[in-house]
Amino acid sequence: MESNAFQPRILAFCCHYCAYSSADLAGSMRIQYPPNVRIIRTPCTGRLETEYFMKALEKGADGVLVAGCLEGGCHFVEGNLCAKRRVNYTRDLLLEIGLEKERIRMVNISAAMARPLAEAITDMVQTVRKLGPNPIPRNGSSKPENRS
């Protein structure tokens, strides 16, 4: 796991009631997944704004994962559907600015779905690894940075 290959930096947003719970459950079950992900907790994925996703990518995230409740199972009725809409919108934006839309994705995970969450993270890491590093330069420089 700790190899020299490109190590993508993935930011994940998990909703308190489902995905964040399942991330904890993955811990209880000692399910292993790549350590490339950092999770930010949100009360509901419906709270997430497009700006957070864009900001993360601008600052150097190689990928963004949004994990909300199962569709129909949102603790706040339809917050996860709002998030889905915004994630899709972000994907369109990424295409427009010449980034791969695969750098952001939304998954629906219930509180018991520890393994699927771990798999979603692993898959995200692999997908982004294939895409390569986020080409947006860090530190505000206009030249693409060679990070590997």
Binding site: D24, I40, A114
Partner: protein
Amino acid sequence: MSESDDKMVGAVLVQGGGIAGVQASLDLANSGFKVYLVERDAAIGGMMAHLDKTFPTGDCATCIVSPKLVECSRNLNVEILTLSELTGLQGRPGHFDATVRRYPRYVDETKCTGCSECTQVCPVDIPDEFNRRLGTRKGIAKLYAQATPNIFGILKHGHAPCKVKCPARVNVQGYVQLIKKKEYLKAVNLVRQRNPLSAICGRICTHPCESVCTRGRADDPIAIRLLKRFASDKEIEMLEAGELALPEERTPAPEAKKVAVIGAGPAGLTAAADLADAGFAVTVHEALSAGGGMLRWGIPEYRLPKKILDHEIELIRRKGVKFVYNCRVGLDLAFETLRHDYHAVFLSAGAQKSRRLRLEGEQINGVLHGVEFLRDAASAGKPAVKDRVLVIGGGNVAIDVARTALRLGARTVEMVCLEQRGEMPAYKEEIEATLAENITIHNGWGPKRIMGNGTVTGLELKRCTRVFDEQKRFSPAFDENDLATLDADQIIVAIGQMVDEHLLGHIRAQSERGCFRVDPITAQTSLEGLFAGGDNASGPASVIDAVAAGKRAAESIQRYLAGRDLLAGRFESTVNPMPDELLPVTGTIVKKARPRAEELAPADRLRSFEEVERGLSEEQALAEAERCLNCALCSECNRCAETCQQHAIDHAMKERRVTLQVGAVILTPGFKEFDARRKGEFGYGRYPNVVTSVQFERLLSAAGPFEGHVVRLSDGRRAQRIAWIQCVGSRDSAGGHAYCSSICCMMATKQALVAGDHVEGLDATIFYMDIRAHGKDFDQYYERARAQKHIHFVKSIPSRIIQLPGSQDLRVQFLDAESRLQQKDFDLIVLSVGMEPPDFTAERAASLALRLNEFGFCHTDRLSPLSTSRPGVFVGGAFQEPKDIPETVTQASAAASMAMELLAPARNTLITKKSYPAEHDVSDEAPRVGVFVCHCGMNIGSVVDVERVVKSIANQPDVVLATHTLFTCSDTSLSNIKDCIRDHRLNRVVVASCTPRTHEPLFRETLREAGLNPHLFEMANIRDQCSWVHSAAPQSATEKAVELVKMSIARARRLSPLEGGTLPVDQTGLVIGGGLSGMTAALALANQGFPVHLVERAKRLGGNLHEIHGTFEHPDLAPFTGALIRQVETHPNIKLYLETEISTIKGHVGKFHLALLKEGRQLEVSGGAIVVATGARQAQTTDFLYGRAEGVLTQVELEKLLHDKTYPAKGQNVVMIQCVGSRNDQHPFCSRICCSLAVRNALAIKKQDPAANVFVLYRDLRTYGFRELYYQQAREAGVVFIRYTPEAPPEVRDNQGLRVGLKSPDFPEPLEIEADNLVLSTGIEADLKNNRRLSDLLKVPLNADGFYVEAHMKLRPVDFATEGVFLCGLAHSPKFIDENISQARAAAARAATVLSKTQLDVSAQVSFVNQQKCISCMTCVTVCPYSAPFCNQDGKGQIEAAKCMGCGICAAECPARAIQLHHFETDQFLVMIRQLFADKDGELFGSERREKELLETV
């Protein structure tokens, strides 16, 4: 004492911590009562915690139930008593003394932090009952991963047979498990706690343990002796290799009391070791030149090498025991001197003399005796052995003698014994080894005469006809006519030993049959201070018996010298056998033989005393230890206790009884699933691929043993063809389960649908009798499943299942719709097991003075469904009648309302309200962050380099304290945090440890106690989401932890103190609707002392009740209806508004205003909570000639006629048609009550005239629960039930009388029935027009059928999403009277949680609108699911904090970014993102200030 000045107790005991108990507890605690929630299991959650998904919403059960459980455990006024049971109840309503039995957890709940280190070291794997034995758990574990309370517990119910059988009570299971974990030294030490002669017994123990080993029932007992030997040999190997040092030599303290031991045999050695350990000065006096007794002088070298013996004696010597050899007490040392010089004496001189045959010729030269022969053989001068040796005797000594003689040079050795081969007292393996060495054994002969003249020439034998008499006593009989002779040069008699008479003579303690007389438990003799044990007290016995005797004596001597009672509470009394029924099931074990230890080849043995038996190899030993079934569950190996850094584990915990003072009791013990093994024809328990529906839930669960993979248990292959068999243990009067379990049809439907998501190409078949989808939205769910191509519903219950040899597929034979015999093969079969009453035995019910019904469920009446036979004791959930989750939750709240009503005067008398110091104002202070990084024992510390984390974050901006703690959540650490807040003037606290989901409230509490606002706290999850999931990558995990903590610090710096507001509550109830539900809810509130405004559109109260004249149980309902109306009309707290319409509804929870219109007058009433009980109506129809032909009527009309006794049943042909206008495209729902009504009317007709013909044309007969019994009665009474399908509905013609034509799937030919009367079951429909109007006023939703939609179908069945508004009765969905009563009471209880408070707390985590930025687009108003935002008088958006649930959807949607969610504000997110991607040197991208400015200007 008079009733009035006798204050009631404001506390309630709730028995059963399933969802019902949790709901009842929360309702009570939130309305001013103290609650004791008593749960039998180790965690609350009940059946719901086992479920994967729930129907019909498809919610993940864990997702929805966990927050409730956590809420319950957090509530200051709910005290959860797990592993507890209500066993007795004294007193009267309002004043009960409840006796609660509390079973030991063996873990101190106040100390356990849930860190799980114990579980990591526990060697024991036992079937996991939570997963219905589909997987295993550790001996110490949590009930399930997300268990509440989050603490561990040990499972044990007694001791394993091996330990119980062992005379010395050695913890066999414990050391076997330690060997499994390669903890060899720990294993030997565990043996030595009860037996200091581990290596010795590993060779020569008679191992009675193995004879009772449960594994022996399946294949072979565990090779316990060889495992003990293996571990002991490992110790010796390590000593020899220099990897281990002998223990330090100890010397007793100078003031230690002195104990003398006579004889250094196993009993003496054991006693000496124990007494030395206890601090006594022990001296062992041994007559011979070295220690060991019979171990040295009786057991040959080839069985027990002297070096092993010397090793274990040396270990005992090092304990400080002094050995004096060649000292014969009575000869070399006077016994009385010994008694005088020592404080106590233990006599263990053994039985060192051989018994004599007392036969003719025994004195002839060449006749030797066994013990003496062996002793000589063990000494330097070996005895001379002749050519042909004959050994007399069949015991282990005789065998030793024979084999020794062979090794000393005998040419042939033969043995003679009385017993047949199978009866010989020697061990089987010894006999086998003897035969292998070519020694002949002559069985069944007794010696008659030793032949010879001066020297032995042979032995004359007589046939032994029996050895033991009927009582199994030794009493040999011989046939004196059946004689034989054997030639021999030497005869060795080895028929037993005895104590030396000489010794008996010297020591004048009482003796009996050649042995010292001792108390069997205390080992005391008749002389003061003299104890005796081993062979000289018991007669010749085994080594382990001697060890046990030594232990007993040592314990007595310690007690004796300390002046304590010799008998009370001795060690032996702490051993209790595991009940036989709890021992592991052996029927399904995969057989695996025990290993054989290698042996020296017979040819190599003959002339050598080299050890014959070799021990097990490591591989063999590990595999053998793996075979142990862990009979006692916990092995008491003590690894957990050694590992627990909180010292929370106590294996000696005992069961306790506590008495609680409570005013009322609510029983919610749930149900137990039917044991499918009782339906043998389905092969459950025999066929691995037959599982129960609960097991299938665990299979489907992503957190279950197979992580959601639907596999066959036999081979782990994916199950593609799955069948469900319904009604296993339900609707089965032959099996004593005549009732319907109500939920299984929906559960199977759900399982088939969910399995379809798990298994591609699933082929699902559900074998059913009737599909009972009678709940709200259930029928639509069923229809959805029916529309799936891969799900087949087959109306047929197969009579048996056959497992196909080889593939282990399962074959089901069944009758198809055309009554043809079909068969189909499946990979997996799910038995939909019914509900049984919980383990609530008749005895326990009697002790609570509780009446049970014929099936063992709680007896209740349909008109008071929550009252048990005992006043003050209420019931809810499945224990009352089988039911699903929403009804269970409803009944739980309803039962709570019963208790509230009873105890209303005592409300708020026993509740705890915590007070905190004044909050320190931090608004003018720069952030001062304190960071506490937790090791969580080894959980974080073993992966993440905690100290490096602390070092890496210490210089982050504003961090003034960075430290690490072992367990941050322990009491000492929490008070340390408080000290640090004070000493370092911290105003932000970051804890990096586990998950905020479970621990944030605890740390926030700590902040409050230290005078800080709780919202100034932030948590980094470096355990559950870091160390646990990256244990293989410690370096990356440490880096991740550093980043997570930095992100938390960055966020913490941006946190602000938040105040949740309060709202005043108008403590008045508002009830809309004056039918049964409205009246019941109004009364339930009024009886608690709340004023109630009851608004009804009609002229009179009662609603649909006026059209119901009777029920099954109450043929005349009029008195009930009349009394209810009178109560409402006359209640001083109820203000009635008849013929009144509602024109507007304003306000929010705590304060609602209703504008009313009564007879043209405007009125306004207000209250803190609203109950909607507006009912529904009987559906009308024009189908089947209703209203057009004579003799066509509805069920309700028929019921009235029957009730009024005006229906002429005599000789009638009555046809009833079910589902008229229901379950079709217009009304897709099921009206739930019509099947039962039809059955009731049919029975009434049959009662009037048994000759009348009643035909019920139905689709699925839905008499669920106990109503099934009436369906059965109707069939028995001759009512004919004929099925039809919606594709071929009945056709009715009026052609000189009614004729009903039908093509039933169950009859080959079309039917035509002449009917005098046609009765239509028209069902119930929503009052759409009025519901629409009220739903607009209330801003609450309606479903497609026009019924109101509750906040959550499963867990908030009577709440609306809008706070403070509640729902009950037919307005929710069709249901029976008892169900309406429950629901109305539930709504009242929920309303009381609001009305009981003078003020409501409003969460601080709510959204707020920046009025300057608001562009009045009102997007927030449209997106909020809770109607919290509204347009204020300035035309701007504003948020009603009381309604806001804190999701933040409005904040994200607001196009002007005018809305923020407190505590989850935009910059609090962005700062974490920026921190995460900041450069390594900590310099943020751009200046932080600029970022902030940018944000403000956006």
